[in-house]
Amino acid sequence: MDKTEIQKIERFALEIRLETLKQITIRGFGHLGGAMSVVELLAVLYGKVMNIDSKNPKKRDRDFLVCSKGHAGPAIYSTLALKGYFSMAELMTLNQNGTNLPSHCDMNKTIGIDMTTGSLGQGVSTAMGIAVGNRLDGLNNYTYLIVGDGELNEGQCWEGFMFAAHQKLDNLICFLDYNKKQLDGYLEEICNPFDFEEKFKAFGFETQKVNGASIEEIFKAIENAKNKKGMPHVIILDTIKGQGIDFVVEDGGHHMRFSEKHFIQASEAIKHFENLLKTPVNGGN
């Protein structure tokens, strides 16, 4: 990945961040923090890595994405709209009555969503089913799975991880959005997960840990994972809840309900991102 390409993906991430912030600002509530921490990952996956076609969203040999932390839906919707799966205008219908864009991912409502999620832990197992089924059909595609760190409180996740390692699902790459916080506070305060890296290693995963705000590091980790055969992969993304938007980081909450101050801060952030995007890709150097 050369510098120009990195800049291109960074710009895509900025667009995803902007559109997601806009969606949630219109409603004045949403899971903004946990949506922000996966923005760079989504930019790498949809901007560079995944074999997908927005004009043929169900093509059989595509790469699949299961976002088990279903509350990050708005970030994925922005990504899908930017990739042309549906109109940008539709983004503004998030959580409106009768919408196709509910707060949690729904494969039967939103074009481009591969799996319905929202009850935490369940996307882990469904992703395993997709991966093992694709292998059964002789496909060489990948299943990408995004899990939250709080989500890993759920026992079902670890059932799924055991299954993945036992089945040697090397076509599965799991991303752990390690933003250190769950709904009620810091992970260590609620239900200490201890060392995720050691845990995944013990569960038979090839394990990497990278800066989840670095396009380059995320991309390299995916390339590394693809080169290692015979076992499932996890890439632990060191992230910040609210990543890339100061007032969201500061709030630090799982689900934000905007105060008057938040609306002002959001509108400033939106202007700031829009200005950044006015700069041509190579113009800033």
Binding site: V66, S125, M128, G129, G133, F163
Partner: protein, 323 residues
């Protein structure tokens, strides 16, 4: 026109239900590469070793992890596979209810969940393993199809039919030998009850292992001049409203008979229909909000009042309320 015939003798069948299940799945899998099977460390108890041997890549024994098994089945379904996932009834329902609800039903997948050892047939596994609530749970899941086969002839036909139907199914399955009800080659229609005995005085609606008990009860009743119609309501959901309403109108009284809690099982399903459209006196045979316990099936029938004599008494009691 009826596509089924009753067998001439209602004795124990030659083949265990699980053997018929496994053989049928192998036959389907031979011609349909999308058929896959899953289990949660009860593969050998279910007699699925032959399937594993024939299709080693298509049998996923997940280990003791029912929630994950249901999720994996849902994932497989989402890419076009037709998964048949088995474990004991309580673990195939209450243990993984949210996974069935969300990953399968809400997501509109195409999964078949096989819950074995229905009700008292869990026998010596006792109260921890004795599901009187699995059908109740499944009934509250929107769009779920629920099948309670009464013998292996029906089981085979139903399993074959599910190959080409889209949707989620919960299928109860006795692992041992059932009492024969139907002649080999009989065909069944999902959503349509089988009128297996004609009668004008009252209708007994039953399913699963209780159908054979009802046949015995009906014979006893006929000796005292009571002619009971019997409906085999093997498809609990969607339920056959038409047959229930015909029964209510034509016989004027109903008794439901089930190997399950009377709460939200067959009794509830039938009363929901008649209360809304044609109210007639109704009696219930079933487990009256109790837990299971260890014991032989015959002993447990006595304990939970599921014997032919109990059915006869309930029929007589209900008839007294008939105007």
């Amino acid at each position: 026109m009826l596509n089924f015939k009753l067998s001439k003798e209602h004795g124990l069948e030659k083949n265990a239900m699980r053997t018929v299940y496994c053989d049928t799945l192998i036959a389907l899998a031979n011609s349909n590469k999308n058929i896959v099977a899953l289990d949660a460390d009860l593969m050998s108890s279910m007699g699925m070793n032959a399937f594993k041997k024939t299709f080693p890549d298509r049998m996923f024994n997940c280990g003791v992890q029912e929630a994950n098994m249901i999720g994996v089945a849902a994932g497989l379904s989402s890419i076009g596979k037709i998964p048949y996932a088995h474990t004991f009834g309580p673990f195939a329902s209450r243990r993984c209810f949210d996974q069935i609800f969300l990953s399968c039903a809400y997501s509109k997948q195409n999964v078949r969940i096989i819950g074995s050892d229905p009700g008292i047939t869990a026998a010596y596994n006792g109260g921890t393993h004795m599901p009187f609530e699995d059908l109740a749970l499944m009934r509250t899941v929107p769009e779920m199809n629920i099948i309670v086969p009464s013998d292996s002839v029906m089981l085979e036909d139903i399993i074959r039919k599910t190959e080409n139907l889209y949707g989620n199914f919960y299928i109860q399955l006795l692992r041992n030998n059932a009492v024969s009800i139907y002649e080999k080659g009989s065909k069944f229609t999902l959503g349509k009850a089988n009128k297996i005995v004609e009668g004008k005085d009252i209708t007994i609606i039953a399913n699963g292992i209780m159908v054979s008990e009802c046949l015995i009860a009906a014979e006893q009743l006929s000796k005292i001049g009571i002619h009971a119609r019997i409906l085999d309501m093997f498809c609990l959901k969607p339920i056959d409203k038409e047959s229930i309403l015909n029964a209510a109108q034509e016989t004027g009284a109903i008794v439901t008979v089930e190997n399950h809690n009377i709460i939200n099982g067959l009794a509830s399903a039938v009363s929901e229909v008649i209360v809304e459209e044609c109210l007639v006196p109704m009696g219930k045979i079933g487990v009256r909000d109790q837990f299971g316990q260890v014991g032989s099936v015959e002993y447990l029938k006595e304990v939970y009042h599921l014997t032919p004599q109990d059915i006869v008494e309930e029929v007589i009691k209900t008839l007294k309320r008939k105007k």
